[in-house]
């Protein structure tokens, strides 16, 4: 059963149409890799799922509940409730620099009064252990490497127990030698059947971890299917051209 349904998503910035009738579905436990050249609308699409971008038309539903139905957004309360089923990991981590690693994790649950302080702390420490950063709980983000920051950001997104985790180019801001540790955490999550949508330039990750790949260009989904099929045997010319460029670089 589809946990996320997106249909006919439309979005323009002024005259520029960045999303043209985007439709796709994500099933529970799917790992979807979204690839495509920069400026193709991948990030805008991902951001519109968590209402960081307002869309101009189309529908988004999570678990059968509409965030936006044919261009009309649900009421704020409803919107908040549905959006809370999704977590987001950003390219630039967006950790809160004035708070320690553990405080970054517990801030939202504490302010939203979900459970007790002890529970937050325990859950936070548990997630830090999961991403291999137990020893960094009391450190400020500035003291961490990029890879460590992104692992903290993933742990923070997991605090709300999201049903879907969205990643917006999670390794693009990292030095090449630091991408591995972040991808490893994501692989572990995939193994635990976390539903994930990942905008990425990591073709290897798309092939090895994702079970579905979507190629976007110029605001449209050009082609989608199994990653091995799409990456090794693309049907459309634009996909071929893109993969040719990426592999050659």
């Amino acid at each position: 059963m589809a946990i996320l349904e997106v249909s006919n998503l439309k979005k323009s910035f002024g005259q520029l149409e960045v999303l043209k009738q985007i439709s796709f579905e994500v099933n529970k436990n799917d790992v979807v890799a979204i690839i495509g050249p920069s400026g193709s609308g991948k990030s805008t699409m991902l951001r519109s799922l968590v209402h960081l971008e307002e869309i101009d038309g189309g529908s988004i539903a999570v678990d059968g509940e509409f965030i936006v139905n044919d261009g009309v957004y649900s009421k704020p309360q409803q919107l908040k409730k549905i959006a809370s089923k999704m977590g987001m990991v950003f390219q630039h981590f967006n950790l809160f620099p004035h708070l320690s690693v553990l405080e970054n994790l517990v801030l939202a649950p504490k302010l939203l009064k979900q459970g007790s302080t002890t529970e937050h702390r325990e859950r936070g420490l548990e997630l830090l252990a999961k991403v291999g950063l137990s020893d960094k709980a009391d450190v400020l983000p500035a003291k961490l490497s990029g890879g460590q920051k992104q692992r903290v950001a993933i742990a923070r997104a997991l605090m709300r127990n999201p049903e879907i985790l969205l990643f917006d180019e999670p390794t693009s801001a990292l030095d090449p030698e630091l991408t591995g540790e972040v991808l490893q955490v994501m692989k572990d999550l995939a193994k635990e059947s976390m539903t994930m949508i990942v905008v990425t330039h990591e073709m290897e990750f798309a092939r090895d971890v994702a079970n579905k790949a979507i190629f976007m260009d110029n605001g449209e989904i050009i082609e989608s299917g199994s990653p091995s099929e799409l990456l090794t045997n693309p049907k459309r010319d634009r996909t071929k051209a893109f993969l040719h460029r990426t592999v050659r670089n």
Binding site: V50, H51, L52, K80, A83, S84, M86, G87, M88, F90, H92, F93, N94, L95, F96, P97, H98, L107, A108, L111, L112, L140, P141, A142, R156, A157, R160
Partner: protein, 219 residues
């Protein structure tokens, strides 16, 4: 020049310094929060409010503080009909002038601090489910304070020195007593002492802000 002379002029000058410090404290304690509210007003989605706040800041920064003080202390009472109700104690009137003026400067400093905060901070807060109030107070404000602190420290030092403008509205303060002693005794010493007292006040202030900066450091 004797020790006795120094002591004899030091007493009134320290009393004057009290007025200086008192005005400084009143002005800074009220104008900083007021400045922040102004910043929020400037950034408000309610356009008339933003417009008013901008006009206010322009007015306060675009005219001399001395003119504003004279206007409040000596000008307001001259307004027909309501003027007689606007005769305030001169120290109170001057305090109001300083607060209104400095709030505008602090508003600009805070606005700069807010601009320096990455929009990713707002986005992360939103995705984590924080509302606007929680985002402002728990995520944005603490960072803004840290970013704005050096400029706030600088402005505070300026405020200490600006308190000398009380002289012009005849409120006895440090400079007033120094000037009186110079005229009476025909010596430069009181000016030097006044300078040293100002330096001591700004030194304390500078040390305090340095300490505060270290405490809030997160980079």
């Amino acid at each position: 020049m004797t020790i006795d002379y120094l002591l004899s002029i030091l007493k009134p000058m320290l009393e004057g310094a009290q007025a200086t410090v008192l005005l400084f404290l009143i002005a800074i304690i009220v104008s900083i929060p007021l400045g922040f509210l102004l910043t929020l007003a400037v950034r408000s989605a309610i356009k008339p409010l933003a417009w008013l706040a901008n006009a206010y800041i322009y007015l306060m920064r675009g005219t001399p503080l001395l003119l504003q003080l004279l206007f409040i202390v000596f000008g307001l009472p001259l307004i027909p009909v309501i003027g007689e109700y606007l005769v305030l104690d001169r120290f109170v009137a001057a305090s109001i002038g300083f607060i209104l003026n400095y709030a505008a400067y602090f508003a600009e400093i805070f606005r700069g601090g807010l601009l320096a905060i990455d929009k990713g901070q707002y986005e992360a807060s939103k995705v984590l489910g924080l509302n606007r109030w929680q985002t402002t107070t728990r995520v944005i404000l603490p960072q803004m304070i840290r970013i704005a602190l050096p400029a706030v420290a600088n402005e505070s030092v300026t405020l200490v020195k600006d308190t000398a403008l009380l002289y012009a509205v005849a409120v006895p303060e440090l400079l007033h007593f120094a000037q009186t002693a110079v005229n009476r005794d025909f010596t430069i010493i009181p000016f030097l002492i006044a300078g040293v007292i100002y330096l001591l006040i700004t030194l304390c202030l500078t040390l305090f802000f340095k300490w505060f900066e270290r405490r809030l450091r997160f980079d």
